[in-house]
C-alpha cells in the first residue's frame, strides 16, 4: 500500500508550486491563460515522472499490489487535473493525499499490526526466518578441508579469496556466494593473493578489522544448507555448516549435534517438544491475542489498569487545574486600569512560549531529588523524592503540566470574558444579584458555552500528552511485579511508545498497536459523548 503514497506524495510536493492549473469553471468559461497551462503541464509532468520512477522501483522489487495502487492513484491525479470539471478536487487533492496516507492509512495499518505478533524476533516472512536461522547458527565442520585465504576489499565491503585444496581459486563475500576467480597475484605458498579490482588487506589492517573479518561468512553456494566459509585469522578458511539443518519436506529444523527436532509451533516460531523456541521467528496473524494478553496476562493486566486510570485522572485534573487557575487569573486581570498589566501578562505566558519538550526536562532538573534546585537550594538540602515516589511523582507531573498549560487557559479565558455581553451583567446587578451570584449564574455558564469545545480538545490533548510525562519522569517510578518498563506516571501513549521502541525489553509492535487501538476507542467515545454534551449545553442556554 505504501507505494501508493509515494506517487501521490511526490504529487503533492510538486503541487505547492507557483500556480494551480487554471481550469475553466462550468458557469463562466474563462480561457486558460498561457502561463497557467504551462505551469499545469510542467507540474503534472514532474509528478508523473516521479510516479513512473516509483513504478519502476516497484516492478524491480515485485510489489505487484502496491504497483497497482500506485498506477490507480497516478491515473486519478492526472484525471483530476486534466479534466475541466471538478474544481474543488483540484484544490483538495494534495492535502487529502497526505491525509489519506499518513493519517487514515496508518490508522488502518495500526489496526492490522495489532492483530499480528510483529516485533523483535518476528520481523518478516517465514522464508526469511528460515534463511536467517540457517545462517546464524553455524558450526565448523570437524573434518573441514583447509582453504588458503586472503581478505580483499572493494567499496568498503570485505571479500574472501580462497584457494581450495584441489587448487581451484574462488572469491565471495557476505552477500555473494563463492564464484570462480582468476588470481592476479599469488602469495609465497602459491595460493591466490589478489584479484584485479580488489585491494588485498595487509597484516596491520587485518588486525584492525579483526572483528569484521570474524563476521565474514561467504556462502559456498546459493543453498544455505551447503554452509559457508569463514576465517578467524585471515589466512586459513574452514567450512561452517548450519548447526540446525532444515528439512523442507517436513518443515522442521534438526539440531545436528543433539538431534532435537524443532517444528513450526503455529505461533510464528520453531519450537522443540519441550517448548524451547528458536530465537528467530516470523510474523503471523494472532487474532485477538494481543488484546487478550493486555487484559489477562498478570504481567500486564494490573499495570495496564493503573495506567488507564491514571491517564484519565491526569487528563481530567490537568484540564481542571489549568482552567481553574487560568480563569481565576483572567478574572483578576480583567480590569482595564490595572497598572503593569501588560508586563505581568507577557511574563505569565512565557511558559506557553517555551518549547514543550524542554519544559519537562528543565523541571526534571529542578525536581531532581539529589541535585535539584528545589531540594538543594530552596529546601536546604532536603531529600524529597519528587520524581521517584509514586504519589509525589504524580503530583509533580500535575504541577508541571499546570505550569505548562495555565497560560493558554488564561489567554483563552481573557478573550472569552471580554466578549461577554455587558448588558446581561448589568441587568443582573439591577436585579440585585451579588458578584458571586453573577459569576456563578451568568458569567460561568456563558463562558462554558464558548469554552467547552476548547476544554474538550484540551482533555484530548492531555490524554496523549506524551512530552511532559516522558521528559519529566520517563513514566517512572517503575511498577513492581512486571517485567515491562512501565511505571506510576506512565499514560497510555508513553506506554505504547516504550513497548514499541523502548530499550531493553524488546520491541513488540503488535502489543503496542493493540494498546494504540484502545486509545483510539477511548478518544472516539470521549469525543462523541462530549460533542453531544456541547450541543445540549448550547441548547440550554439558547
Amino acid at each position: 500500500m505504501a507505494g501508493t503514497t509515494l506517487t501521490t506524495s511526490s504529487t503533492s510536493r510538486a503541487t505547492p508550486g507557483p500556480g494551480k492549473p487554471p481550469t475553466p469553471r462550468r458557469p463562466k468559461r474563462t480561457p486558460d491563460s498561457l502561463m497557467g497551462t504551462v505551469a499545469k503541464i510542467v507540474l503534472l509532468g514532474f509528478v508523473d515522472a516521479i510516479a513512473v520512477f516509483v513504478m519502476f522501483q516497484l516492478v524491480a522489487s515485485a510489489e505487484w499490489l502496491i504497483l497497482a495502487i500506485c498506477v490507480v492513484v497516478t491515473a486519478v491525479v492526472n484525471w483530476i487535473y486534466l479534466r475541466s470539471d471538478g474544481l474543488p478536487a483540484k484544490y483538495l487533492a494534495p492535502g487529502v493525499f497526505f491525509l489519506l496516507l499518513f493519517q487514515v492509512f496508518v490508522m488502518v495499518f495500526s489496526t492490522y499490526i495489532a492483530f499480528t505478533n510483529y516485533g523483535d524476533g518476528h520481523n518478516s516472512s517465514k522464508a526469511d526466518a528460515i534463511e536467517s536461522i540457517q545462517l546464524s547458527a553455524q558450526e565448523r565442520v570437524p573434518d573441514s578441508p583447509q582453504y588458503a585465504a586472503s581478505v580483499l576489499e572493494k567499496g568498503g565491503d570485505l571479500y574472501l579469496l580462497v584457494t581450495a585444496p584441489d587448487g581451484a581459486v574462488k572469491l565471495g563475500g557476505n552477500d555473494q556466494p563463492l564464484q570462480d576467480a582468476t588470481a592476479s597475484t599469488t602469495g609465497p605458498t602459491g595460493a591466490a593473493a589478489g584479484v584485479e579490482g580488489y585491494t588485498t588487506l595487509d597484516f596491520a589492517t587485518l588486525l584492525q578489522r579483526q572483528q569484521q573479518i570474524a563476521e565474514l561468512k561467504v556462502p559456498i553456494s546459493d543453498d544455505a544448507e551447503d554452509g559457508s566459509l569463514r576465517t578467524a585469522d585471515g589466512s586459513t578458511a574452514y567450512v561452517y555448516k548450519p548447526k540446525l539443518s532444515y528439512d523442507a519436506a517436513a518443515d522442521t529444523f534438526t539440531d545436528t549435534t543433539t538431534g532435537t527436532v524443532y517444528r513450526d509451533s503455529g505461533e510464528g516460531t520453531f519450537a522443540a517438544a519441550d517448548g524451547t523456541e528458536l530465537a528467530t521467528g516470523w510474523k503471523i496473524n494472532v487474532g485477538l491475542d494481543n488484546f487478550t494478553r493486555a487484559f489477562t496476562d498478570p504481567n500486564l493486566q494490573g499495570p495496564l489498569l493503573q495506567v488507564v486510570l491514571w491517564t484519565f485522572a491526569f487528563a481530567l485534573l490537568s484540564v481542571a487545574s489549568t482552567f481553574a487557575l487560568g480563569l481565576f487569573l483572567a478574572i483578576v486581570f480583567n480590569r482595564a486600569d490595572l497598572r503593569g498589566k501588560k508586563i505581568y501578562r507577557v511574563l505569565m505566558i512565557l511558559p506557553y512560549a517555551f518549547p514543550a519538550f524542554l519544559s519537562g526536562l528543565v523541571w526534571s532538573g529542578l525536581l531532581n531529588p539529589e541535585f535539584g534546585f528545589i531540594n538543594n537550594a530552596l529546601l536546604g538540602g532536603a531529600q524529597i523524592p519528587w520524581l521517584t515516589d509514586p504519589v509525589l511523582a504524580k503530583v509533580s507531573v500535575l504541577v508541571v503540566n499546570l505550569w505548562l498549560g495555565y497560560p493558554y487557559m488564561f489567554l483563552v479565558c481573557t478573550g472569552a470574558l471580554q466578549s461577554l455581553p455587558e448588558d446581561v451583567e448589568e441587568a443582573a446587578r439591577m436585579d440585585g444579584a451579588g458578584a458571586w451570584r453573577i459569576f456563578r449564574a451568568i458569567k460561568l455558564p456563558l463562558l462554558l458555552v464558548s469554552l467547552t469545545p476548547l476544554l474538550i480538545s484540551s482533555f484530548a490533548f492531555n490524554f496523549n500528552n506524551f512530552n511532559v510525562i516522558y521528559m519529566l519522569t520517563g513514566g517512572g517510578p517503575r511498577f513492581d511485579g512486571t517485567t515491562f518498563d512501565i511505571g506510576g506516571t506512565d499514560i497510555l501513549i508513553t506506554m505504547v511508545y516504550k513497548i514499541a521502541f523502548g530499550a531493553g525489553t524488546g520491541r513488540d509492535y503488535g502489543l503496542a498497536s493493540a494498546l494504540a487501538i484502545i486509545i483510539f476507542i477511548i478518544v472516539a467515545v470521549v469525543s462523541a459523548i462530549s460533542f453531544r454534551q456541547t450541543k445540549s449545553l448550547e441548547e440550554i442556554n439558547r
Binding site: A2, G3, T5, S9, S12, P21, G36, Q57, L87, P88, L92, G95, F98, L99, F102, Q103, V106, L329, I331, L338, R339, Y344, V346, M348, I349, L350, P351, Y352, A353, F354, P355, F357, L358, S359, V362, S364, G365, N368, E370, G372, Y408, L411, G415, A416, G434, F439, R440, S450, P453, L454, N464, F466, M471, I493, A500, Y509, S513, A516, V523, A524
Partner: protein
C-alpha cells in the same frame, strides 16, 4: 478553589462602580488593597511561578560549573563554557540539529499553510457533493493525533525506504511528508472560518473582470487572510519544532536529528553530568521560538479564541 476567591474581586469591582471616583487619590491603603492591591500580589505570585524555571535554566546555562549540583545557586558564576562545549561536541552536532529543526519546521509549516489554504478555499468558496461530510470528517480525524500511529508510521517508512531511500527512515523528507498528513484537520477548520469572513462579492467582482479562480485565490483571497495564515504557520512551526515522538523514531542518525530528539539524548542517560551543556542548548533552542511567539502574540491569541469559539 479559584471560585471561592472570586467573590472578593467582583465585590471590589461592584463598589468601584457604585461610588463616584473623585477621591481616588486619597483612598486609604485598605481600600486600594481590597480593590487592586491584592491583584498585584496574585500577579506577582503567578509571574514568579511562570518565570522561575526559565531563570533557572538560563542560570544553569551560564554557569560554567556544568553539573546539576553546581546549578543550585542562581546567577552566581558566569561563563560561556557550556556553550563552547555544546558546539565542540562532535558526536552531538548541535548546529546540525538547529539547522535540521529550522529546515523541517519551515518547510512543513509553509506547506501546511499552503495545503490548508487550498482546502479552506475549496470548502469556503465552492459548493460540491460531500462538502459537509468532508468538513466533519476533518474535524473527526483531528481528534486522533498522528503520534498514536507512530508504530505504523515507523513500519511504513521502513518499507518505503526500501523502494525510495530518499523518503525512508532517517530522512528529513520522509518526516516532512508524515507531518503533512496532519496539514488539513484543525488548520483547515481555522482557515475555513476566516475565509468565510471575506465577502463573496469581492470574488464575484474579480470574476466579472475576468480573473480565473487561481487568480482569485492568489490575488484576492490570500492577501486578505494573511493574519490567519501567519497564525496557522506559526502554530504549525511551534508544534513541529517541539515534536518528539515521531521524530525520535524516524530520525535515527545524530546528523539528521532535530533539537527535540538531540537535546533529549543529552540528558537521557546522564542527566546530572550533562546538565550545563543541556541548559545551554535549551536556551539557544528556546530563544527563537519564544521571540517569534511574543512578537506575534496578538495574532496567536486571536487565532486561539477564534478557533475555540468556532470549535
Amino acid at each position: 478553589m479559584s471560585t471561592s476567591t472570586m467573590t472578593a474581586p467582583a465585590s471590589g469591582a461592584g463598589h468601584d462602580a457604585g461610588t463616584p471616583v473623585p477621591l481616588q487619590r486619597r483612598r486609604s491603603f485598605g481600600r486600594w488593597f481590597a480593590d487592586k492591591g491584592w491583584r498585584h500580589i496574585v500577579a506577582i505570585l503567578a509571574t514568579v511561578f511562570s518565570v522561575f524555571p526559565l531563570l533557572y535554566v538560563l542560570s544553569a546555562a551560564l554557569n560554567p560549573d556544568g553539573t546539576m549540583a553546581g546549578a543550585s545557586t542562581l546567577f552566581t558564576h558566569f561563563g560561556w563554557g557550556n556553550f563552547e562545549a555544546l558546539f565542540a561536541n562532535q558526536e552531538r552536532p548541535f548546529g546540525r540539529w538547529f539547522a535540521n529543526t529550522l529546515l523541517i519546521g519551515l518547510v512543513t509549516s509553509a506547506l501546511t499553510v499552503f495545503l490548508g489554504a487550498m482546502a479552506a478555499y475549496a470548502f469556503s468558496r465552492m459548493r460540491f457533493a460531500g462538502r459537509r461530510v468532508g468538513l466533519l470528517t476533518l474535524l473527526l480525524l483531528q481528534m486522533f493525533p498522528q503520534l498514536l500511529t507512530v508504530v505504523a508510521i515507523f513500519l511504513l517508512l521502513n518499507f518505503l525506504g526500501d523502494i525510495i531511500p530518499a523518503i525512508g527512515l532517517g530522512s528529513s523528507l520522509g518526516l516532512i511528508m508524515v507531518y503533512l498528513g496532519g496539514a488539513l484537520g484543525v488548520n483547515t477548520y481555522l482557515m475555513y472560518g476566516f475565509f468565510n469572513t471575506v465577502p463573496l462579492s469581492l470574488d464575484e467582482a474579480a470574476r466579472i473582470d475576468g480573473a480565473s479562480h487561481v487568480q482569485v485565490f492568489f490575488k484576492i483571497i490570500l492577501p486578505l487572510v494573511t493574519p490567519i495564515l501567519a497564525v496557522v504557520g506559526l502554530l504549525a512551526f511551534i508544534a513541529i519544532s517541539s515534536e518528539f515522538v515521531i521524530a525520535s523514531v524516524v530520525l535515527t542518525d545524530p546528523e539528521s536529528q532535530t533539537l527535540a530528539v538531540g537535546l533529549y539524548s543529552y540528558v537521557a542517560q546522564q542527566r546530572s553530568e550533562n546538565w550545563g551543556v543541556f541548559a545551554a542548548g535549551a536556551v539557544l533552542a528556546a530563544i527563537p521560538v519564544m521571540a517569534l511567539f511574543l512578537f506575534l502574540q496578538r495574532y496567536i491569541t486571536t487565532g486561539l479564541t477564534a478557533g475555540g469559539v468556532k470549535g
